[in-house]
């Protein structure tokens, strides 16, 4: 993967950059920005071949996706990460952008103190997340996330009627730091908070608002059948809020009529069974009434 960069001498430009940043650490941001600007189209290849330090062969991304709390992320391809086009605009979003990118692509060789290292590490995680949001809507990204979805890596729907439908991660905003990740259930089409607090702190923008919907556009056969059942609260056997449930059922029937009118499959399961069941229910209720009347 990334061992292509080993054993090649550092370019003079990099040596200069290293020197400057050693002398004036506060200029680092500026330096990395400069580099992005004049690095231009072949900047990525430059990075790739320029770094020499063989101590950093830790495969940052491997470590990142396998570390605790990052179970929702998939691994971004090296090629995707090193294509500048895919990173458009991210240099303004991420502090120490260039170092962060170096770290993510395993070519980081900047000597710095622990605080700095910490900062860069944080930036790298942020950068990875932002690229991740773009990557998972690509063909390869979707395929990787689909595999994770099939393994229920994102958890299962807590709603009882959804019968452990696997979830997908999503964000309520595409802007970073606006809301944490939520989980989308394709069966009830609703959003849930992750069970674990270590997942609840992940930024929703690392998955984006569109990914989960795109996945089902691309893989429509992964759509679960929609359930028509609803939990009916009862008190001593008597339904509570039955009118509201009936109102909802009317809305559902109206949707089905609309879809039928447009000759579109509704995707609801057990449609016929349901109708039969309802009829049976009514009959039984009717019997009960008569029985009660006779007893009186």
């Amino acid at each position: 993967m990334s061992d292509a960069g080993q054993g090649v001498a550092a370019s003079p430009r990099d040596q200069v950059r290293k020197k400057i940043s050693e002398l004036i650490p506060s200029l680092e941001g500026l330096v990395s920005d400069l580099r992005v600007d004049y690095g231009g189209g072949h900047g990525a290849m430059d990075d790739f071949n320029s770094e020499t330090d063989s101590d950093y062969t830790s495969y940052w991304r491997d470590w990142f996706i396998s570390s605790r709390g990052n179970e929702y992320f998939c691994e971004i391809d090296e090629e995707y990460l090193t294509d500048r086009f895919n990173l458009t605009g991210l240099n303004t979003e991420v502090q120490y952008y260039q170092y962060a990118l170096d770290l993510v692509t395993d070519v980081f060789d900047f000597d710095c103190d622990d605080d700095m290292r910490e900062q860069i590490e944080k930036s790298a995680r942020h950068l990875y997340g932002l690229v991740h949001a773009r990557y998972i809507v690509t063909t390869r990204g979707l395929a990787k996330m689909l595999e994770k979805f099939k393994k229920s890596d994102f958890g299962k729907c807590p709603r009882v009627m959804c019968e452990s439908q696997p979830l997908l991660p999503m964000g309520q905003s595409d802007v970073a730091n606006s809301s944490p990740v939520k989980l989308y259930c394709a069966r009830c089409e609703d959003l849930y908070n992750p069970k674990s607090s270590r997942h609840a702190i992940i930024d929703g923008a690392y998955f984006g608002t569109s990914f989960h919907n795109i996945l089902f556009q691309v893989y429509p056969n992964m759509l679960p059948p929609k359930s028509q059942r609803r939990y009916e609260p009862k008190v001593f056997g008597f339904k509570v809020h039955a009118a509201a449930a009936r109102w909802q059922a009317d809305e559902r029937e109206m949707l089905k009529d609309r879809l039928r009118g447009a000759r579109i499959e509704s995707g609801f399961e057990e449609e016929d069974d349901d109708a039969e069941e309802e009829e049976e229910d009514e009959e039984m209720e009717g019997d009960g009434f008569e029985g009660a009347a006779v007893q009186q």
Binding site: S173, R187, E189, Q248
Partner: protein, 362 residues
């Protein structure tokens, strides 16, 4: 459990202290000692008498347990009805009287019996009060649904007989049931809480503001956006302002987590996914509610359509909605019809079944 420990902790409190038993209330001994409350449980629980003794940490003076089993009924009455001051011994003594294998059977029977008593207890006045305290302290957790905004939930069973389903959580904000997040609750039988409890709870404590969390101030941009959507939704809320209750529930407490503004709208790059798409939204009905809750007043709506029917029941029997007197009067026909009814029947002349009018009339 308690029988094997040195501490003189009661069986009940040690049972409720076990990992995974956090949802249980401590049933008062008075409740268990009242035979009426245990009606019918004898046939459901093996080694009923021993189990009951274990729960109550008592031991009859009579030591030969094996024989007693046959004459459970009489013995049982005797024990429970007996008022003698010293007929019991503490659990620690009892331990020596039974063989170990027996104990584990009795222990599981006791747990079953306690669960079934618990199901009844939490629908009783002291029980529901105790559960209310646990509810306030958020012992049952919160709804995982994003739009319910951490509404406090209550434990519920999907079946009243044991051995079917584990305990679930009922959210009053979306009227739905969820699996507890922690797997340790997946060993707790749902029947120990019963199907009735949560609904009865919210019918009992009608003053609770279920949706208080939902109307909280936003802290982040995304929440602000949601807030704006919710505001828009409120504008589309056409419930007449003078309606104070529907079916005995205040309109703002009727499933506050659902309805316009609280339904997820699937979007791709900002564009809504059409319901005509194969992957389009199909389940919005599950999170919808009428903008005007009086739409749910089915009986009245039905009789409004054929107004001159001879079978039309008395207006009082059509009374599902409460209106506050003296507030802005909605000009719509149904409301004016309702007001006529209220004025005509006066304060005291309602149907004996009319519980809705009590609050508004006073």
């Amino acid at each position: 459990m308690s029988s094997s420990s040195q501490v003189t902790e009661s069986w009940i409190s040690s049972f409720c202290g076990l990992l995974g038993h956090e949802y249980f209330a401590e049933v008062s001994e008075d409740f268990i000692e009242d035979d009426f409350n245990l009606t019918g449980l004898q046939s459901q629980v093996p080694m009923y008498k021993e189990a009951l003794e274990m729960i109550l940490d008592v031991e009859p003076e009579d030591d030969d347990d094996e024989e007693e089993e046959e004459e459970e009924d009489e013995e049982d009455d005797e024990i429970l009805g007996d008022e003698r001051p010293t007929p019991y011994r503490r659990a620690s003594d009892r331990r020596h009287l039974r063989i170990a294998s027996d104990l584990s059977v009795i222990e599981s029977s006791a747990e079953l019996l306690y669960g079934l008593i618990h199901q009844r207890y939490i629908t009783s006045r002291p029980g529901i009060q105790q559960m209310a305290e646990k509810y306030e302290l958020q012992h049952f957790g919160t709804c995982p649904r994003v739009h319910c905004n951490s509404t406090k939930v209550l434990p519920v069973g999907l079946n009243d007989s044991p051995g079917h389903e584990t305990v679930k959580l009922f959210c009053p904000s979306c009227l739905d049931v969820y699996t507890p997040p922690n797997s340790r609750f997946q060993t707790v039988d749902g029947a120990f809480f019963g199907t009735t409890f949560p609904s009865l709870f919210f019918m009992t404590f009608t003053d609770l503001d279920i949706g208080s969390g939902i109307r909280n101030n936003p802290t982040t941009a995304a929440q602000a956006l949601i807030q704006i959507q919710a505001e828009n939704a409120k504008n589309s809320n056409t419930t007449p302002a003078n309606v104070t209750s529907i079916n005995g529930i205040a309109p703002h407490n009727l499933a506050p987590g659902i309805g316009a503004g609280n339904i997820y709208e699937p979007r791709i790059y900002g564009f809504r996914v059409s319901e005509r798409a194969k992957s389009g939204p199909r389940m919005k009905w599950l999170r919808m509610k009428p903008a005007d809750v009086t739409e749910l007043d089915e009986t009245r709506r039905y009789w409004e359509n054929p107004p001159d029917d001879a079978d039309r029941p008395h207006d009082d029997d059509l009374n599902m909605v409460d209106v506050a007197e003296g507030k802005s009067v909605d000009s719509r026909k149904k409301i004016s019809a309702r007001r006529k009814r209220t004025n005509g029947s006066g304060n005291g002349g309602g149907s004996p079944m009319d519980t809705n009018g009590v609050g508004a009339a006073g």
